[in-house]
Symmetry: D2
Subunit: 257 residues, 4 copies
């Protein structure tokens, strides 16, 4: 599938500060960037901070005053098999070393506190079947409602039973880790999402590879354009400002061509 | 400095479960393992999960019943210059890519909530001088007292003004990250610590390299034997049990030879 | 001082639910309601739930659909001496029985966790002088900014160093209780507040009586019209809806005549 | 039923501080104190702080050094009908004014965050039937295990699925309040409890009166000797020390005669 991405950010920086921008499509086996352009108006000097190990692309820039950022890209997404049903759970001893950190608790995913709940609710299941049951439970019990903020963890989301995409992703990740299944958060562009916006989904390691899933049930994983992944939303913020700034406007358009 | 490490763990596993053990001295530029032995009584099959990227060494084993683990090592520690005074703070754009995750909030270090406090308390300082002031503040305001548990974050430690080594390390790491200084937690063996135990310290990236520091002020950093490092205690647990177990006994002896 | 109060609430109740309204000026020694009118459009049946013990006045009503509530009152406020400087702190044994609950932690005021901080920051002071120092500290360190929500406790406010009137009041109450000084939250109409709104302040028991204070420093306590008081904002909500409703509009005008 | 209570507290007070002691059987319609003795060794001056409104009895004393407190009482407990099955839920408008505070969130019972959960789990039930379902759910899902501390709220207990009597009581109270049913915590002596200790239970207002219930299922409510009640454990601590002290020993014996 070919996807056209258009992202626009308009910020006001009252003081001269550095920012880290992470909105470019990642380099990955299952997606190829055919064409892209990242522009700043007015122009700013940028330092690239791409990570060859993960395929993530990032720039750091310094700015004071008003700044408009535009990113346009055409990305080819390979067919992906994200089926969970038959994906086996790995023994810890059989997990690749680089998946191990995704078993640990993180800023928004205190998975260590959820072990008994994971057991009580999903105790009879393992691997992909367990992940699928977790996603079903989340879709059945959480309301999509903008009641959370930048401090909200999966613990509050679990109790309040509501949140936005990142909260759904955090809870899915938390329950998977509490089930000894490596899980992480990915920031993506999602063609079918309404209204269009930056989107956060979960990724779990079962059956020998990472599999994307959207615990909000709002975006099919097929056309997702991956930007970055990490332990949770703390790692994949699209803009990290090392100081103060005000968002003036922001828009995202994602179209399957 | 040459350091002799002796660690003994005695656990009871009521059911057959996997565990991840992380108590071996790491491979690093500034420390060399001259001699070591890791033994299990009764013997268990172990799968090594060493991470060549970080030098950390880990084994995964499966066990049911009583298990005694013994680790003995002699480690040569190079002279280390951990001086903070003149170490400059890096611009974000100048930080190595692999230090960037250590600017983010983590399970026990919600640094995103501490930005105003870091500013109010340490606003005039940067780099090593700021780190030194953070450590001084912690030593001056926190009491070393076992009042915390496995859920305690730096937020509670900051308000309660008490904790154990991991809590001191978490608060130091949190305030450094909130100051835009990469910071992480290291698990170590500390020769001078009284009473001897597994110990947790902080590591900050200023002046071009990582520098160890002990915000409890209880252990000189010179003879520290590094085991593992990570975003916080969630990453460097010496034993992670994927199921239930009971600690029957545990002891650590660390001697500078 | 004579104060004219005008409050307008406009809500939409999608289902038939009960609500508890607490916006009428309280009956108290230091304020007299000269004239008032509480109206509902469309009219609803109300059950009065006035509390003769506290002077608080409340109504419970049941409603479905759109409802406009209007409260108009003219209140005479007696001259109040809220001076803190010479007000002595009472021994616990000398406190009136009905002040004792205001020494305890509450929903938004976990004062039990703040004892060491209260000691470290205000250890040399007692009574009114200590309260005054607490208020000064709050005014000096907190920014008035709408970053909090209905779940925010004094612990988060203390760390984030920002909030709105209820957060300032919660932190003042918390630090006073942690200093063994009875403290509670009062909901009030404040003539000088800009922009006009429902307002929350603190009340402390020193020197033999309750003394109002505004830890935001935004409203002189002289003309405050007391509505209700309680352990914290949980007790003095102006509208408690036992179900769902949407606020369509809300306005408050308070004028010293 | 006639119950014999014996409580012994042995504390060391390093500095001269005040304490509030609340271990005497309350005066209530359904229990009569036939004989009792409260002694302090060495003797201390006490100020009685009994509350005639609630029947609770309390003393404040000042002490430095070692202090042994002994309370012995014989209490006659009337037959109590605590049956929940047919007890109707009251409309808010029909609740007695003094029950209204027990609908609000408190220190350990953040009931405002549990409304959706209460709805999802117990939505079809009201009144005593709903309370009974809440107690059943708690008994079925929580493990009695000393994993909590003086900071633990019902939110953590709900997620961790474990705790001691006060945690069970807090969760029951929280879920009842989130169901618009007034609920409070009572401290009691419980004849059948093993091992004997101070005990905390819940009390709910349905069917026209307060009804005791023990959400741990460990103590029949029949012989419970009521000491105090309040919004949660913050209000009913058996000993509140306004400063520091160390518990040296403590024992409780409660025997049905």
């Amino acid at each position: 599938m070919r996807v056209h991405v258009k992202a626009r950010l308009d910020y006001d920086f009252p003081e001269r500060v550095e920012s880290l921008l992470q909105i470019e499509a990642a380099v990955a086996d299952d997606q190829a960037v055919l064409d892209e352009r990242l522009t700043f108006d007015p122009p700013v000097a940028v330092t690239r901070r791409d990570d060859p190990a993960t395929g993530e692309r990032r720039v750091v820039f310094t700015c004071q005053g008003r700044l408009a950022i535009a990113y346009d890209a055409v990305v080819e997404i390979a067919a992906r098999d994200m089926a969970l049903a038959d994906a086996a759970q790995h023994a810890i001893a059989a997990l690749p070393i680089d998946t191990l950190p995704y078993l640990r608790g993180s800023r928004y995913c205190p998975s260590d506190t959820f072990e008994t709940i994971a057991d009580q609710k999903f105790g009879g299941l393992r691997g992909g079947a367990r992940v699928a049951a977790i996603v079903d439970w989340i879709i059945g019990h959480l309301e999509y409602r903008p009641c959370s903020d930048a401090r909200t963890t999966a613990l509050e989301t679990y109790v309040e039973r509501a949140g936005v995409c990142r909260d759904f992703a955090h809870l899915a990740v938390t329950l998977c880790r509490a089930s000894d299944i490596p899980a992480r958060v990915a920031s993506v562009y999602a063609p079918a999402l309404q209204p269009p916006d930056f989107h956060a989904v979960a990724e779990v390691f079962v059956g020998g590879r990472w599999r994307l899933l959207d615990p909000t049930g709002r975006a099919p994983v097929d056309g997702l354009v991956r930007i970055a992944y990490g332990r949770d939303a703390a790692d994949v913020a699209f803009l990290t400002i090392f100081g103060k700034a005000t968002m003036m406007a922001q828009s995202v358009m994602v179209t399957a061509i």
